[in-house]
């Protein structure tokens, strides 16, 4: 990976972090409604993963989707506007935090029924297989989603029909407040792919370079073999499951220990060690992000609410 791409990944990770920190403030001020799930701590996962895709590869994820949206190239303005429910959001303010998509960026949502988007991801791959192209669908989901039937139906179909799907389990070690080993028969999620004869691996998700390498390898396998792959990415969310999380299920010590492995800090150290970017250069990017996020907040706050004509718009494609 060249310097430009490495710097781009750093920029995206910081942008996700700062955007969400501001989002959390706006949520507490009551400017953002509904459920909001922060990606803070997990930025290296989607950043490294999506940097490895071709533009023609589709991305679909669960409700923790702000970071994925940024990585897919959706602007901070649009993400912030959607969070505020404004008409300038990519879903015109009708989707909110959990439902961000922009098909022009091959980002297909933001889906909030746990595991529900996995068969839909298989369906994208059915469509691409039927069309005769070699597009890959990258489907991201949490560890909690691997215990529901949708996961198993989707993986079974993907392997049986040789669908080009990269199944990405973001194992942040808790399904809401339930630790993986309290909910899953196997705590190493990648083992579940074994039952379907599906190639799989596990990677450290706090290191964006390692994630990128693992994703590139998996995508290469899928593209050339025409078969699905399951990649388990080990990560940790630094904030609660959603904004209203009392966090009774884990200790402050545990959270602190993981925060020492901050993916942004790890990546800064990597860039310095490899002499790709010095602290000063990176501080410059941080300042640039700060301005971009401030502008996004201003853009979103100044944007109009959706008009009442939008209430009945887009229910059906045909009248």
């Amino acid at each position: 990976m060249d310097k430009e791409n490495l710097i781009q990944m750093y920029y995206e990770m910081v942008l996700i972090r700062r955007l969400e920190e501001r989002g959390a403030e706006l949520y507490q001020q009551g400017k953002i409604g509904g459920f909001m799930h922060l990606y803070i701590g997990q930025e290296a996962v989607s950043t490294g993963l999506i940097a490895a895709r071709e533009p023609r590869d589709r991305v679909i994820t669960a409700y923790r989707d702000h970071g994925v949206a940024i990585n897919c190239g959706i602007s901070a303005n649009e993400v912030m506007a959607e969070l505020l429910g404004k008409s300038t959001g990519m879903s015109k303010g009708k989707g909110g935090s959990m439902h961000m998509a922009d098909t022009s960026k091959n980002m297909w949502g933001g889906h909030a029924i746990v595991g529900g988007h996995l068969p839909i991801a298989a369906g994208f791959a059915i469509g691409d297989q039927y069309a005769g192209n070699d597009n890959i669908t990258i489907c991201m989901f949490g560890d909690g989603a691997t215990n529901i039937g949708y996961f198993h139906e989707a993986l079974n179909l993907a392997k049986t029909w040789n669908l080009r799907v990269l199944w990405v389990c973001e194992n942040n070690q808790y399904g809401m407040g339930t630790a993986v080993d309290r909910a899953s028969a196997v705590s190493e999620i990648r083992q579940k792919a074994e039952g379907y004869g599906m190639k799989n691996s596990r990677v450290d998700g706090m290191d964006v370079v390692k994630v990128h390498e693992a994703a590139a390898e998996a995508l290469k396998y899928i593209r050339t073999e025409g078969k699905p792959y399951l990649l388990e990415i080990m990560t940790y969310r630094f904030r609660g499951h959603s904004m209203g999380d009392p966090e009774r299920y884990r200790t402050q010590d545990e959270v602190k220990k993981w925060q020492e492995d901050d993916p942004i800090g790890i990546f800064r150290a990597y860039l310095a060690k490899k002499k790709i970017a010095l602290g000063n250069d990176l501080d410059g990017i941080d300042a640039q992000v700060e301005t971009e996020v401030q502008k996004a907040v201003e853009f979103a706050e100044a944007s109009p609410e959706p008009g009442m004509d939008q209430l009945f718009a887009d229910i059906y494609a045909e009248n």
Partner: protein, 324 residues
């Protein structure tokens, strides 16, 4: 005009649309090698091959979820549910995904998918395999729910459903595949969301659809022998619901009954009756009655099952009651 069965009409519609549009393909349990559990897709596998007639695992979420995904990226899948009762296993996709994706993402994509499903009682399949849960599905904005009562309508409506850019649930009845009827020769479609008069009359209005149409037509013949002329309005599409022909007929007859095979509580009849009261109250000359399934899980035993399902004499009795 040719006189063909409901099965042949549905089969023709599928084949004509597959020939017309390469984006159309079929997926479902036993649709291919087996030829469809109700033989609707018999011969399709040989004609179109495994790419266009896909045998799936017994996994309703994968079938309907997969169809939704393929539809979102530009194909036109027709997913077959072996019975609508198995649709409950994929309820999330039918009512919580397909009808909402377009709206929730600000119209960025649509879901041009048809789900064909068989429903209805009368074949002694027991309580979990015999339901007519149409009203449940018709509850959800964003879904189109179609249920034809004649071979001609089945063919024309299914062709429209396949061409529609919205998700359509197409409900067929398990006891009606052998029903015969006149079907126009050559290419034709029938628009979704349009009710129609299937039998003209002046004395009362019978509002019905699907199996209820078959029963109501028989009841109307018997009533005619007694000098009572029933006008039968066939809804054909439950959502979006076209009340125009219903209201027009009711304003003429001032008396109506609704015939449906599903349970009476919270059913299609409840909706129709409410709308007539809301939109034509001044024309009401008698309480509007509903003929529907008894409020029991359908039993296996033939006599018990038939006793639970609406029958022609029930319709005749209700018609006479509203004419009193």
């Amino acid at each position: 005009m040719a006189r063909i069965t409901m099965r042949e009409a549905i089969s023709q519609a599928l084949m004509e649309e597959m020939d017309r549009d390469p984006a159309v393909f079929i997926l479902g349990e036993e649709v291919g090698v087996w030829g469809g559990t109700y033989a609707v897709t018999k011969g399709f596998y040989d004609k179109y091959g495994p790419e266009r007639v896909k045998d799936t695992p017994i996994a309703e979420n994968a079938i309907i979820g997969g169809a939704i995904g393929a539809a979102m990226v530009g194909q036109r899948p027709i997913a077959e549910l072996m019975t609508i009762n198995f649709g409950f296993s994929a309820m999330d996709y039918i009512v919580n995904q397909a009808p909402k994706l377009r709206y929730m993402f600000g119209g960025q994509f649509s879901v041009p998918m048809v789900i064909r499903a068989v429903g209805g009682g009368g074949r002694q399949l027991g309580a979990t395999h015999s339901q007519t849960p149409d009203a449940i599905f018709a509850h959800f904005p964003g879904l189109v729910v179609v249920s034809p009562g004649t071979p001609a309508d089945a063919k024309g409506l299914l062709k429209s459903a396949i061409r529609s850019n919205d998700p359509v649930l197409f409900l067929e009845h398990a006891t009606m595949y052998q029903v015969r009827g006149e079907v126009p020769d050559g290419e034709y479609t029938i628009p979704l969301g349009k009710s129609t008069i299937q039998r003209p009359g002046k004395d009362l209005t019978i509002v019905t659809y699907c199996k209820g149409l078959e029963l109501s037509m028989k009841a109307a013949e018997d009533l005619a022998k007694e000098g009572i002329e029933a006008e039968i309005v066939d809804l054909r599409t439950l959502r979006p619901l076209d009340m125009e022909p219903v209201l027009e007929s009711f304003k003429k007859t001032n008396r109506a009954i609704v015939v449906e095979e599903g349970w009476k509580s919270y059913g299609v009849g409840a909706e129709i009756v409410s709308r007539i009261y809301e939109q034509a109250f001044d024309y009401v000359d008698a309480p509007i009655l509903r003929v529907a399934q008894k409020e029991v899980p359908l039993p296996y035993n033939r006599n018990l099952e038939q006793a639970a399902l609406p029958q022609v004499p029930d319709i005749i009795a209700a018609a006479k009651e509203v004419l009193k």
